[in-house]
Subunit: 200 residues, 3 copies
């Protein structure tokens, strides 16, 4: 499905932008911004590939991922103000990104014969650990440790995908449904200050 490849690249670009914006907030320099964009965009998938032994990791075999990250950095440099204004629209693309990253990671793990529970876990790792590594590098406690809804949305999307993909021969339906689940959960969470109350 070639369109998935382009959505993946676009998700990489959007994730890179979110990393670069975090770097700008922290007043890092250009190298710092590039690294922050980089790890945010490919950190989760890289960790998944390394844990699975799928090396060289994905972005080392296809120059387009580094190009997408570079474009993201460039956009932030030439249009910082506009990007900051567009943050709400970015939210939409970001949600599409994590939804897709979750599902691609899940599928990759299933193909390697992992236990479904572990494959779902790998899907969530693919989507959220880029942000974890970004926060660690920025010397912050990972955002996800205090905003669990982000990972919960990925988890829900992964579970929905796993079961609908098993039950239906329609290849697009599981993808669209699970991405809609991710998007709706995140939208409700932000709009209503909603969290699953998963405090301990």
């Amino acid at each position: 499905l070639e369109i998935l490849y382009y959505i993946d690249l676009f998700g990489t670009l959007v994730f890179a932008i979110s990393g670069v914006l975090a770097a700008i907030e922290k007043r890092f320099d250009l190298v710092g911004a590039f690294i922050m964009g980089f790890v945010t965009a490919v950190g989760g998938g890289t960790l998944r590939d390394v844990l699975l032994g799928q090396t060289p990791v994905g972005w080392l075999t296809d120059i387009n991922y580094v190009l997408a990250i570079s474009v993201g950095l460039l956009i932030c440099l030439v249009a910082k103000k506009e990007v900051l204004k567009l943050r709400k629209s970015l939210f939409l693309f970001d949600s599409i990104g994590i939804g897709l990253f979750t599902i691609l990671g899940l599928q990759k793990a299933l193909e390697l014969g992992l236990h479904p529970l572990l494959a779902i876990l790998m899907g969530v790792v693919s989507a959220v650990f880029g942000g974890v590594i970004r926060d660690v590098l920025a010397n912050e406690v990972p955002l996800i440790f205090r905003q669990e809804i982000y990972a919960t949305a990925c988890l829900a999307g992964a579970v929905v995908f796993y079961f609908t993909d098993m039950l239906t021969p329609l290849s697009w339906f599981p993808l669209l449904l699970s991405m809609a689940v991710v998007l709706i959960i995140r939208y409700l969470a932000v709009r209503k200050g909603w969290s699953l109350g998963l405090k301990i």
Copy 2:
């Protein structure tokens, strides 16, 4: 030696509990607690497997490790107070855990033909780096950097195991002796505020 497998799983559970307790202290949410328990329990072994190229890493090939971690999380959720009271007894199990993790890591590295010094190092890494990653994620300086006795105990256990295992055909003796060494060093360290004075 099947019993080793169950001790390994039990050590994983105990390590997960210590990670979850650290997350509770930091007021992370449920996702944060799960991740903290997870990296504390399997972080060291995962790093060892990745460095050695033994992938997919161990816990991706056996669902029981994730289950042990989940049980550890569940115990903390339903019996937080009791777990906190039992912390001293946990210390015993924790020491058994690091002793075993050290030895299993050492053996794995030796089987792959590593130089004995490097195999001993890999044993210590298996035991202590879960805690290092936990502390990094919690945005703390790794505890081990200021309480060297923890790593020293593992190192002593690994050295004792290596030499007794070489010298004796009794497969249980090296294991029990080296785990006793780890336990005694840690006990003395805590009881007497003892440290090897390895300040620099």
Copy 3:
């Protein structure tokens, strides 16, 4: 080229010293100092090897790297004052180290058939990520995020090496030229408070 191997070991020793000095500043204990020296010295190359799937990683197949790191630690322990005084001379060796690490990483990646841009990136990662991991463990924002000239020097060295190595059959010329580029850029940067002004 056997001499490259010895320069590599020497660079490892110098990098280890810089990690140990950072640990002393932070008042870590001996174990902390060893780990800090270790990750500073081999962290970048280890990350590169893991991403490329070249495992077991380099220092697990040759005990001399751990010995070089141990010697670095020992030097700091017995001659802390002298080492601190020599910091300026260390700068020279450190620059030789990062120059060489960059080029060795670049070559390794090219040999594996990576896209030249990605190979250059891997060269820079080999040289600078040891320091990034050191700073993360010390609970600091990576120095490189605020002093971009360090990575810029490596990048310039890698680019110069790539093109001269392609254009000339003289195997020593590209190496010496690119290492001189790294050294000169860093020298100018320190001497003149020079930075490329790559602020964002």
